[in-house]
Symmetry: C2
Subunit: 308 residues, 2 copies
Amino acid sequence: MEVVFLGTGAGVPAKERNVSSIALQLLEERGVIWLFDCAEATQHQILYTPIKPRKIEKIFITHLHGDHLFGLPGFLGSRSFQGGETLLTIYGPKGIKTFIETTLAVSCTHLRYPLEIVEIEEEGIIFEDDQFCVVAGELQHGIQSFGYRVIEKDLPGTLLVEKLVREGVKPGPIYQQIKEGRTVRLDDGREINGLDFIGPRKKGRVVTILGDTRYCEKSIELAQDADLLIHEATFSSEEHELAYNYFHSTTTQAAEVAKQAGAKALILTHISSRYQGDDSQELLGEASKTYSPTYIAKDFMKYAIMAK
Amino acid sequence: MEVVFLGTGAGVPAKERNVSSIALQLLEERGVIWLFDCAEATQHQILYTPIKPRKIEKIFITHLHGDHLFGLPGFLGSRSFQGGETLLTIYGPKGIKTFIETTLAVSCTHLRYPLEIVEIEEEGIIFEDDQFCVVAGELQHGIQSFGYRVIEKDLPGTLLVEKLVREGVKPGPIYQQIKEGRTVRLDDGREINGLDFIGPRKKGRVVTILGDTRYCEKSIELAQDADLLIHEATFSSEEHELAYNYFHSTTTQAAEVAKQAGAKALILTHISSRYQGDDSQELLGEASKTYSPTYIAKDFMKYAIMAK
Ligand SMILES: [Zn+2]
Ligand SMILES: [Zn+2]
């Protein structure tokens, strides 16, 4: 499970930072990639990574501002052009359906794969299967803006093969039954409880990716004990008034959220183009006074969330 | 008057070629730039040129396929963000209005400049003032696709100052009247005809920029005696069946149009990503057998159309 930053700027693209998009690679876990936001030229950024558009299974749009959205029509068309045939599901605020349907219709873009568009009607679980659960919560950004908490479900413990061999249980189809935790009768008449031969369950990981927002309680809730929190930091610490007026956050506010939530790591993104070059180090310094470890995202930066 | 190629590829962006956009710089002539098509990441390409978005006065969209259109919403927003305050006029096929209005509304993009959208209802003159005239004609591309003939009006001849001085006419406000071709009475009682003191009118230039199209008569009409014809060449000469089926042109067909039209120069663009690196030389060779001078466009290539 790794996060790859495809765009880490705010508002307008710049040479150093493209506008917002983040890829969550779940290649080992489920052989796919999830995208969070899809600003203009996200597909161009992807050209410089090993990411294959057809591997992208879900796209979560945090909010409908252009610097998080305008790469979507081009990406959808190119995914088809490049051989994508599997279902793609897009989650986002109300309005996303009109945007996608109008842009594809006007441009006569015909997709060769099924497209499902889910407009989020209320906070809570928006996706769940036996591996993952995604919770959406509403932030404070003037327009509807969601934060997403991606929860990996706990993984079953591994089969304690050595212990089984010590007990004289030989490998065979019976191992599968034991692994499922069932009580089985052996050939020699003994009965064993599968649960005694399975290691402890492995805790799943949590990654929280927030849309643009002011400092708010919901962010803390979504980031509770997360292994990684990705939070916007459009402004430096001293610009808290600007941040408040434009419904954005400062470095220090993002760090405060990570601290309150007890997150394990914080990455700041959505950096205004007013901060160039070495300014990043200053922004990092501000946040680090409140919370550590903090990182400042750069385009193409990769961050691995280790299994526990 | 110069043409700058911002995107010269077809269908999907590639590292070598972005999707379609061409800037026609009229900085000396009227202090502005006109854009032809605005594919995704056109604003990103502009970052690597001296072009200022606020200087762009008109955008002509040839047709509504995504690889000519999807950069428009982002460009419009950024032009505002970067201080554009003057009127911007967009010309294009029916549907362009819905596309722009929907994308701006859904994304809550508020422009700080007046935006005029002209859906072209029929062929002919779509814009005219005392400097320029633009004629649109319908090509053959499966969907409505326009070619644009940009006609610079003939320029008045220069004032023959030396001749005036020889005749003893001293510089002063009277020069302006003479320049306008009026008959004026001098202080010494003589009457002179302004027309005798103006050099020959200078022929205006013609640049023809076509949207995607099959080989067709309309292209020849639009390119008649043009100083520069910019024509798509999605396919190599031998792929004429593919070109026909997909409503595109081959190198040879583009050259044939230039030849029939008596154009002064031809630039091929909209090159499929199947042609890489040295293939360009081959494409150029094909076209040059039929018409010369031919050039193959590259991203950021600049071509000056000299005054006559
Ligand atoms: Zn925003
Ligand atoms: Zn086309």
